[in-house]
Symmetry: C2
Subunit: 315 residues, 2 copies
């Protein structure tokens, strides 16, 4: 049995998984890195998951996400890419040997510049399992979108795009906010598509953004259209830069509404993507736990680069 | 004699110019659109410039900038491009016939999308006069940088880039702010150059930005370097998108420190730019007043597209 936890910046969620990977129970709470005091992590974990642990004394707990950052429970140094499941298993930070571990994030060096993720790596491996692929581009949209290139079951490339954060800043705090509605309840696909198409043209993001204002100034776009247009411009810019090859295997992992926007935008670039939801995290942590089972059976630590042949917990 | 006023969003500045263009006196105050109530413009103008007007009863007053916007003293509709000095003269909004007028901004349609400026147009014509050119790319960096293509003395193309505003948002309100110093007092040219060079490479702005964070995370860049790196990334992105041709005539108009950064960044793209300071606004308004003198002499309104042959006030 596995207690899989995705513990992020603003919230946590956990699942109790059977040996065959079935989700037996789920739990979520708005207790993330930002709301937990230094030294308060063990107590928070006990408060949220103590009952499950007492009910299942042999459960293995794997915690992924910002819980392993410098400001988290304990710092789990990034696993350098290329990184497969065996590499992550090798570098787990055990808080209670054999019982409770933090999953390291992954760092990748691109053209002399580092990029990092924490938590998304387990979703990547989960998404690959769900899709039955070992080579793919996995996209995890959000505040900081991650584009992950996986080859032979190992994370080889990683690019973070600050799309969601820039959207929020521009949406609510820039001059553009003056002609946008107070909330995003009305999402208008045509305006979104116009933004995506515009972002794929030359001109540059900093310039394209200003058209949200000028179109409002000349009353050629409604406030609700403006918000969807802005969303399309930012996601389109991300796609323009990430430039997935038409025909490549792309998996979008995330909240269904956001994943659907990315899928729609990718289609405009000629890329047919599939989507995977929150279950990717559980599947990835189960696959990682499967590695541990295998390691225990083999009685030796895994070697980097050797993907698991079988997984006792996850399959 | 001319009273030239540049009246913007947060401040105003004015100059009293002799018939030969010499600046006789200057005045500035922190009274812009944001601090003037509806209906309060005439009183503000009287308070700031009444003494000059009484001392020089025949002075002509030309006001450029946001004073002519919908939220300003009176809305002066944008002059559509291509627009030369004669077009602006033709479309002045006279508040007191022959004595006090608001200069219209310029709007240009690019690929079906409008772009606009208010106030920068007089700086553009002033910069051309100072440089002795009628064909050039004029760059006006700032909160909303303007790239203006002038051919045959007329503004033909215009692209606004939200560079300064995005810098301020990212610098002070994004996750990047956590690893940046409280102020920008230390500008580090090497870090700035690295940002410019990086922005000229593929990857996209939304991705490049994140390296400001990861370099700090791995202690490969100091906080002060981070701020200059971010500045370079944004200005580099603007240049990458605007893509002035190497060898073309580029004039950067603005505050000397900011203009110098753009000049430096342009040099890294192989473009040798000259810089012009705040005097461009006075020179442009004097040239516009010269058009009026010429029109009065000729006794008929100017035709769009006919640049002034002589200028009694400005030369």
């Amino acid at each position: 049995m596995l207690l899989a936890v995705d513990w992020g910046t603003t919230s946590l969620r956990g699942a109790l998984l059977a040996a065959d990977g079935r989700v037996l129970a789920e739990h979520a709470a708005p207790r993330g890195l930002l709301s937990i005091e230094a030294g308060g992590w063990a107590a928070a974990f006990e408060a949220e998951f103590g009952a499950w642990r007492r009910a299942h004394p042999t459960v293995v707990c794997l915690l992924a996400g910002m819980v392993g950052s410098r400001q988290g429970w304990a710092e789990a140094p990034y696993c350098p890419g290329p990184a497969g499941l065996a590499d992550l298993a090798d570098r787990l930070l055990w808080l209670q040997p054999g019982r409770l571990a933090i999953v390291p994030g992954v760092s990748v060096e691109n053209d002399g510049l580092p990029d990092v993720m924490r938590g998304e790596e387990v979703q990547v491996f989960g998404a690959l399992e769900l899709a039955g692929l070992s080579d793919a581009t996995v996209v995890l949209p959000g505040t900081h979108s991650k584009w992950v290139r996986v080859r032979g079951g190992r994370i080889c490339e990683l690019a973070t795009h600050m799309t969601g954060e820039c959207y929020a800043l521009l949406r609510h705090q820039s001059i553009l906010s003056r002609t946008l509605p107070p909330d995003d309840s009305a999402w208008l696909p045509d305006a979104f598509d116009r933004g995506v198409d515009q972002a794929l043209q030359p001109g540059g993001l900093l310039h394209h953004l200003f058209s949200v204002r000028t179109l409002a100034l000349f009353e050629r776009q409604s406030p609700a259209e403006g918000a969807s247009h802005l969303s399309g411009l930012l996601i389109g810019e991300e796609l323009h830069a990430a430039a997935p090859a038409a025909g490549s295997d792309v998996i979008v992992v995330g909240h269904p509404a956001l994943a659907a926007r990315y899928q729609r935008a990718l289609a405009r670039c000629g890329v047919k993507a599939r989507t995977v939801g929150a279950e990717a995290a559980w599947r990835g942590l189960a696959a990682l736990a499967g590695q541990l089972g295998q390691l225990c059976q083999l009685g030796r630590p895994g070697r980097p680069g050797r993907p698991a042949a079988t997984s006792t917990l996850a399959r």
